[in-house]
């Protein structure tokens, strides 16, 4: 029996989320499947995008600026290994922030735990990132630069990237329902974040005295960690930044879910 009352927080919220898991999967599948419909080369665009970005960053930061990497790996690999977690983060944030408003036809007409809507792009973005991994390994083969056992920790860092993205995403997605400003904020965050995060360069390029301050950007720990597992000979993990990333992920996830659940009942009224 279902009881509906004003302001009644769904007592079985998480059970409902679990019950609607098929919808979650199918929405993620829809996002993926629609993306390259009616294109001639389809998923190749994802690969082209990766190659072009890596080439430009290698040229600008490696060749022209000659930034140090502090590792044995070729600059191209350093850039690519940073690109993967960054694009995972920016794809999730970019798509999911607009997702609730983008699915307003569903929200106004059917009940399901609204949390599914911004969570689904996390899956489709993760699939995109997984498409890039073989490309990275292919490149490593090309450079004759093989990873060591630390690669086994890669799934954990992938997971951390997703977790750190979901918190702010939920906040932006929920705010966007009422204030369409938040999609612009998300877009700026993605655009500027690319330059203040160690994507095109290594954190080793940051002077040592600034390192603690720089590590306050939670993406620093994630990207450094990702590089650390993929490329052998990377400098030791800088634990403070990793700790900051993990605590930021947990804190933002908690804030994101709490805010989202607080306002989701009103989505249908104000969307």
């Amino acid at each position: 029996m279902i009881i509906l009352e004003p302001g009644r927080l769904q007592r079985h919220y998480w059970r409902d989320v679990w019950r609607y898991r098929e919808l979650f999967v199918i929405l993620a599948w829809r996002d993926l499947s629609v993306r390259y419909k009616q294109t001639a080369i389809g998923v190749v665009w994802a690969i082209i995008k990766a190659l072009v970005t890596v080439a430009i960053f290698t040229f600008v930061f490696g060749r022209i600026a000659k930034l140090p990497t502090g590792s044995l790996a070729p600059y191209t690999l350093v850039v690519f290994a940073g690109m993967i977690p960054w694009s995972l983060f920016s794809n999730i944030l970019g798509q999911a922030s607009a997702s609730v408003v983008g699915n307003s036809n569903l929200i106004g007409k059917v009940y399901f735990p609204r949390l599914i809507v911004p969570a689904a792009p996390a899956i489709s973005s993760l699939v995109d990132a997984l498409i890039w991994l073989p490309l990275l390994f292919g490149m490593m083969l090309w450079f004759g630069f093989w990873p060591d056992v630390r690669i086994a920790l890669l799934p954990l860092f992938m997971l951390l990237t997703v977790l750190i993205s979901v918190g702010p995403t939920l906040l932006f997605a929920a705010l966007n329902v009422k204030y369409r400003d938040s999609q612009f904020i998300a877009a700026y965050l993605i655009q500027f974040g690319l330059y203040v995060s160690p994507v095109g360069f290594s954190s080793a390029a940051i002077p040592a005295q600034w390192r603690p301050l720089y590590s306050l950007n939670p993406m620093v720990g994630v990207i450094d960690g990702f590089r650390w597992c993929v490329l052998h000979g990377e400098p030791k993990l800088y634990y403070p930044s990793l700790m900051i990333s993990i605590s930021a992920a947990i804190l933002m996830l908690w804030i994101g879910i709490a805010y989202f659940r607080k306002v989701e009942n009103r989505f249908a009224d104000i969307i």
Partner: protein, 436 residues
């Protein structure tokens, strides 16, 4: 809650805040929220007059879309919900479907609920028919395995077998709607909430939908059905509630509620000057219900031999131009239709103004509500002017030859028939006849 009750709603209310704000898009803009907070923070220190040119002024108004709505629906019952636009029907359905929270009150729903507030919710134009069946099914709450077992049935019902792997953006609108309804029709919840889905598709498709919904109700499912189609409500529902301005105006048997709704829905119209549109090839300019001697009627009784005066303007001569009228009952079902050719009178094919005088064959109305539709069209079924239910009137009882004989007679009209009576005293007829 008693065991046989499927839906129990009490004191439901829903409040919306309408803010008349300077932003025409209607969405809150962060700046406004921030300035409002800022103003509030400054208020104790310094008085800032609101509504100045730099500050957006917001006036907020409460609006109760629903108030004190309560009802019970038994298991297996089909409840119709009727009412004018804006009466709160959709808000009620949104609360029951858990799309939005009630502001006050409480609902208990017993069993799995599926709501169908729109046909084809979530259909994605780029996806194929097959993919959309799975997507839409999942959105409506079906599991993958459920959809898989019913897939062939759904496709057969929609009749789109050949186009399963075509993106639905290439479907005709009819195919699209059929596929969407087919998915919805194969939902098997305990409680089904339906909003106006029959308002789509052609007549044949609507007939099939109605049939399918009758099946659904026969299988013991509880159905809540909102519609403006009174005939559909009457056929499907045993009970109905009528909403007006967010409150229940009447609840009871579907027939009574519908009759009450229709008889109170708009005053009588015995004379009508339809709006003119110079683009029309031909149009009705004036139509009035008249008495036997051609004078406009102020009220119609069961004793009146009424008639119609129709004034028609034809702007372009057309050899196939036709005019006709139809008389409808309270449920807007046509009782009969008539056109000039029936009586050997020429159709208005010439350019100019035409006057038609129609006389009904005696007092034909019973004390009920009727409406009359006038249409101007061509034989190739192009409608030039359709004055649907232009005249609406309630007939008052008055002594007439037929009506007085049996005031409680059944039917939609009174028709004086020619009766003869022969009586035979003798089982072996001998030629004597008594004519009544």
């Amino acid at each position: 809650m008693p065991a046989d009750i499927a839906i129990h709603a009490e004191d439901l209310a829903k409040k919306y805040i309408i803010s008349h704000q300077s932003d025409p898009s209607g969405h809150g803009v962060l700046r406004e929220a921030l300035t409002a907070k800022f103003k509030r923070a400054l208020r104790p220190i310094r008085h800032i007059p609101g509504g100045g040119p730099g500050w957006s002024s917001q006036t907020r108004e409460e609006f109760w879309a629903l108030k004190n709505v309560g009802f019970d629906v038994c298991h297996g019952e089909v409840l119709g919900i009727i009412g004018r636009n804006g009466a709160g029907k959709s808000t009620l359905l949104k609360i029951l479907s858990r799309i939005t929270d009630p502001t006050e009150g409480r609902v208990e729903l017993c069993g799995r609920v599926a709501s169908l507030l729109e046909v084809g919710t979530g259909f994605h134009p780029e996806l194929t028919g097959r993919e959309n069946v799975y997507l839409n099914g999942a959105i409506l709450g079906m599991t993958r395995s459920e959809i898989r077992t019913k897939f062939d049935e759904i496709v057969a019902f929609a009749g789109v077998e050949r186009f399963l792997d075509t993106p639905v953006k290439r479907y005709s609108s009819g195919m699209y709607v059929r596929l969407a309804f087919a998915v919805a029709a194969h939902l098997e919840p305990d409680i089904l909430i339906i909003d106006e889905v029959l308002a789509v598709g052609d007549a044949e498709f609507q007939r099939r939908c109605l049939g399918k919904m009758q099946d659904v109700s026969k299988h013991g499912r509880t159905v809540l059905f909102v519609s403006h189609n009174m005939l559909a409500v009457e056929q499907l529902c045993s009970r109905a509630i009528c909403l007006e301005a967010g409150r229940i105006r009447m609840a009871g048997s579907a027939r009574d509620v519908i009759a009450n709704y229709l008889s109170n829905n708009g005053a009588e119209v015995l004379e009508c000057f339809p709006e003119s549109d110079p683009a029309r090839v031909a149009e009705v300019q004036h139509v009035v219900l008249c008495s036997d001697d051609g004078k406009p009627l102020r009220q119609v009784t069961t004793a009146d031999t009424a008639g119609l005066n129709i004034q028609l303007l034809v702007r372009e001569p057309r050899p196939d131009l036709q005019i006709a009228f139809s008389v409808h009952d309270a449920y807007r079902t046509a009782i009969f239709a008539s056109c000039p050719l029936d009586d050997g009178v020429q159709q208005p094919t010439q350019k100019g103004r035409h006057d038609f005088r129609v006389r009904f064959p005696g007092p034909i109305f019973l004390p009920q509500r009727y409406s009359i539709t006038i249409s101007v069209y061509s034989t190739r079924s192009i409608v030039f002017h359709d004055c649907a239910h232009a005249l609406r009137f309630d007939v008052l009882p008055a002594a007439s030859k037929i009506y007085s004989a049996a005031p409680n007679r059944v039917g939609l009209m009174q028709i004086l028939c020619d009766w003869k009576h022969m009586m035979h005293d003798d089982p072996e007829p001998s030629g004597q006849e008594a004519v009544a």
